[in-house]
Symmetry: C2
Subunit: 227 residues, 2 copies
Amino acid sequence: MTREHRKAVVLVSGGLDSATTLAVAKSKGFECHAMTFDYGQRHKIELQAARRVCRAIGVLEHIVVKIDLRKWGGSALTSDKIPVPDFDPNMKSIPLTYVPARNMIFLSFALGWAETLGASNIFIGVNSMDYSGYPDCRPEFIKAFQNCARLGTKAADQNTRIKIHAPLQNLDKASIIKLGASMGVDFANTHSCYNPSTEGRPCGRCDSCEIRRKGFLSAKMDDPAKI
Amino acid sequence: MTREHRKAVVLVSGGLDSATTLAVAKSKGFECHAMTFDYGQRHKIELQAARRVCRAIGVLEHIVVKIDLRKWGGSALTSDKIPVPDFDPNMKSIPLTYVPARNMIFLSFALGWAETLGASNIFIGVNSMDYSGYPDCRPEFIKAFQNCARLGTKAADQNTRIKIHAPLQNLDKASIIKLGASMGVDFANTHSCYNPSTEGRPCGRCDSCEIRRKGFLSAKMDDPAKI
């Protein structure tokens, strides 16, 4: 790989998907520049987890970008007026924790940073198996974003064209956990709950807690994160 | 038009293109929600122009979103280390005033707000005739963004799908000025210079000043903005 082809911007939220994604990027020989968003999320405690994950796995640099998605709310994660719903196994529609255009915004910032760094790779931990049904986690969206990024940046020529890597896209939560564990990811560093107590204790009732619990159960592993 | 189809988010920078775009949106009967970015731009004075433009043309609401694109710089507009170049008629490459992924970031925020408002229209004043050669002003990019927006949002069904309007796309600067003037836009409210003095006086030497000067000349109109 050329230097340009080795550089990557990796979106790291502090959850277990992005921790595994970062480990995948590292294992493939990418120089990782990690990016985290302080976007007004209810579970701001995940920023501490993102710092632990980046320190443990190792990155060239880690920046936390502050943006205010509470300005218009519209999600249980960015508005105090919308409570975080309990996990509902019969839920068919897009849940209230969906944050409008969040991945588009995150990927756009990653793209701006990548272009400035001269990096042609962006890693994101989306997956469309065990997730909450968010439209911006689907492979069609990621592919469309990549196409858009290639048309809207300086790096329009063949050699430096942007690639969006979503290595977890087709994995279920148990497979992600097993993959991360096989690469030595310490999941004790990660945080998943959408509605933690002020001390950072997971609620054990939201989608994210339930998906995590089932994932570890199905992977036949104990969740090392303190409850 | 249904209520949903009447609502629009309009990106307003304070320049003459976005002022004309806002006037176009209003003239077509859209309820306009204006969005401006305080992104660390050298010509922050344009925020005052954006406020004047919104007040003069009339919007339902106007929000200024603060994001920090100086975090990584990479452009003469967001880094003090890169001086704003003088206009160069022989310039063939993308100029130093290009801000990596700026329109992608702006459109992503507009998309998030539009989705929250239940609006299916976004207006942006890009044009690919008399401009500085930025890749994120090209029609292919706008089309790709629209496609991406439709795939990555809740509004995936036919009735509420997002439309990105770029009414100035194929107009040159003189035509934009004539169009704006015909709708009563007061260009005295607008600001274009990339490198103004601390009092807001245009430099008269950057791309943006030169393109504006030539536009008014070619439209056979006086520029009412105080110099």
